[in-house]
Amino acid sequence: MDFTYSPKDLAFRDELRGWLAANLPQGWGETVFLPEDEDENAMFRLDWERKLYKGGWNGIAWPKDYGGRGATLVEQAIFAEEMARAKAPEGLNIIGRNLVATTLLHHGSDAQKARFLPKIISGEEVWCQGFSEPNAGSDLAAVRCQAVRDGDHFVVNGQKIWTSFAQYSQWCILLARTDPSAPKHKGISFLLVDMKTPGITIRPLRQISGECEFNETFFDDVRVPVENLVGELNGGWRIAMTTLAYERGPEDALGRQLVFRQELDQLLATAAKLQRGNRSAIEDGLLRQKLAKSLVGIEIMRLNCLRAFSKSLKGAPRGAEASMNKLYWSHVMQDMFDTAMEVLGPLAPLTAGDAHAVDGGRFQLGFLRSKAFTIYSGSSEIQRNIIAERVLGLPK
């Protein structure tokens, strides 16, 4: 066992640290934060992504041929950690960089790679993901959005839901039914859709936090050129599964863990400051126990990631441990935000606008947002099915 990085990796870290210090706005994370307005926030993150690209820091895991650095897994982990440590914003084109690029690298034609990859990494083209539908969530293979061949085009009709960033996207990856008569997993194709095509309507969906990150997207006789089919006709399900398998790796989770730890550190600082009766909230024995549970839970998340990561470094294929990690951290973090609200006590109901609101209402926002953790990227119930069947070998 060894918890240190090599001198070469430390040099990589220092180079990145130096670049971040020079390129994030003065006072970033202390006095200067992301814009509160959602559109401004998105544009800020897009500008940041383009800046990362110009500095050579976007899509670092990509092969050098496509503008990446061919970064090692350790370098990817260091990147995720340093971005979190600097509280750097996440670039807007998450779906483009992580999902679309991985899919095209594995399954795209040479022409598709040449056309799309450079504009993803440069931040010129933002992507969204048209997978889920109102009646195809956990049962994704039930998609009904149809693509019918008409000459050298597919004509797409149907509805997608939870399409994050659709309002900022130039392109969309779309799962559409191309053979309604085949068994449901065998009649789906994977298409690349230009969001400027006539017939696409985007309607924002307001989330329980009040934000509108995601949308409903409607396709009404949308014409998609056949060259925008990825892989084989009716072979889309297999492609979608590899896309989702590579959605997030353990190196990425290390960065996420640091962000969670920062949130908890802020909560501890707030608890030390908040008066509760004739003492501070942090002196309350019961709250201390709950905060300690979160501390232990979040630190173990890091250890879980490092164990999974060490296995990947030795070449172990990615398997169901991603489900174990996701199920673990999503519940640990929901519990932490429950505790946060308890720590705030009488001030818990007060949100950002109120004069007595604590820390600009960040914990209320976090509490509301945390409800999504156990739903997105595979709900806890789906993760439990995966673990029970693929790790423990229980029957379907």
Partner: protein, 371 residues
């Protein structure tokens, strides 16, 4: 960056697992530890592993023992064996050359038995311990008691944590010494004997004190090692009860279906698997910290592991009993042996609440926050 064990460590685990699979069956656990077990385990090197090479040992660390203690938990190896290894480790690290030469060769061969005496009726952690050695002309005299000492009656030497004035220290005392009496205790754990060790004006000399003088840091280091070992063993117990449950629900049929195909059952099993996996992360890191980390980080790592593994071994074992239905509640099945042992380990060397308080106290101090 490598949070994984090496090939030798995994091979050592396989060796010990194979040995325990035949040497320690459920029948043995019910009827008492087979006498040969100490010798068989000694042949694998587990008792000599922490002893320095210059003292005839293997000069390895707790990281090398982590998977072994997990196997101990899996096979429910009775508590006196882990207690002996921890006591030997403290002597190896903090003992005088004479103490090391006198005790460690026999300990390594499994011929000389050590046990450790930490718990009191009012304390499981060093700061709360009350047993005190009072100075006399010849050295010190001790009156009081320690409880739950694993098989003190079979031990040649007991490693006893106690106070010398204001300082905590570790002393080595034979159960046969004048003034020492043993009383066998009724306990939840049916796989081993435990004794109350009663001291009535027992004389200690400087030669009895580990390292020659009281050393509070040695007491805390030994306590941390024992707590981490408890966490590792509970990890193994949790893993075993998960395996037992998965095997059972994969065979048991009700409503014409294997019950493991029901989501209500699967989801419990998945939660258990996640709990066991996190136990491993916490306990392995604690083992590494015993060898490599500074005392503050060691304490934090150990306390995270002891609190997490205690809560989650209990959770996993409870679920395993539930998933077995009526059979799970029978004496015959034997899952209760795990339930009983886990409860004893949970209560030993600081319970989960105490360790969580230690984690948050240290965290707040490191952040320079009040409280």
């Amino acid at each position: 960056m490598d949070f994984d064990f090496n090939q030798e460590q995994y091979m050592f685990q396989d060796t010990v697992r194979d040995l325990l699979a035949s040497a320690l069956t459920m029948e043995h656990l019910r009827s008492g530890t087979p006498a040969e077990l100490w010798g068989q385990l000694a042949e694998t090197g587990v008792f000599a592993l922490l002893t320095r090479e210059e003292d005839g040992g293997l000069g390895l660390g707790y990281t090398d023992l982590a998977l072994i203690f997990e196997e101990f938990g899996r096979a429910l190896v009775p508590a006196p064996i882990a207690a002996a290894i921890v006591a030997g480790g403290a002597i190896a690290r903090f003992g005088t050359p004479e103490q090391r030469a006198q005790l460690l060769p026999g300990h390594g061969e499994g011929a000389l038995r050590l046990s450790s005496a930490f718990a009191e009726t009012v304390a499981t952690v060093p700061a709360a311990m009350t047993l005190t050695a009072r100075p006399t002309d010849a050295g010190w005299t001790v009156t009081g008691s320690k409880i739950l000492v694993p098989d003190a009656a079979a031990a040649d030497k007991l490693l006893v944590a106690l106070r010398f004035g204001d300082d905590l220290g570790l002393a080595l005392v034979e159960p046969s010494r004048a003034g020492v009496t043993l009383r066998e205790q009724d306990t939840l754990d049916l796989t081993a004997r435990y004794h109350e060790v009663i001291f009535d004006h027992v004389t200690l000399t400087a030669g009895d004190i580990v390292g020659g003088r009281p050393d509070p840091a040695a007491v805390v280091a030994c306590f941390d090692a024992a707590a981490a070992v408890a966490a590792l063993q509970m990890t193994g117990m949790a893993a075993r009860t998960l395996d037992e449950a998965v095997t059972y629900v994969g065979q048991r049929k009700q409503f014409d279906r294997v019950i493991g195909s029901f989501q209500a059952i699967k989801h419990r099993c998945a939660d258990m698997a996640v709990a066991v996996d996190a136990c491993r992360s916490a306990a392995y890191y604690a083992a590494w910290a015993l060898d490599e980390a500074a005392p503050d980080e060691r304490a934090r790592a150990v306390s995270m592991a002891k609190s997490w593994c205690g809560d989650n071994a209990r959770f996993t074992c409870n679920q395993a009993i539930q998933l077995h239905g009526g059979i799970g509640f029978t004496w015959e099945l034997g899952l209760h042996l795990f339930l009983r042992r886990i409860k004893c380990e949970e209560a030993s060397f600081g319970d989960a609440d105490w360790h969580r308080e230690r984690v948050i106290g240290a965290t707040l101090r490191s952040m320079e926050l009040a409280g």
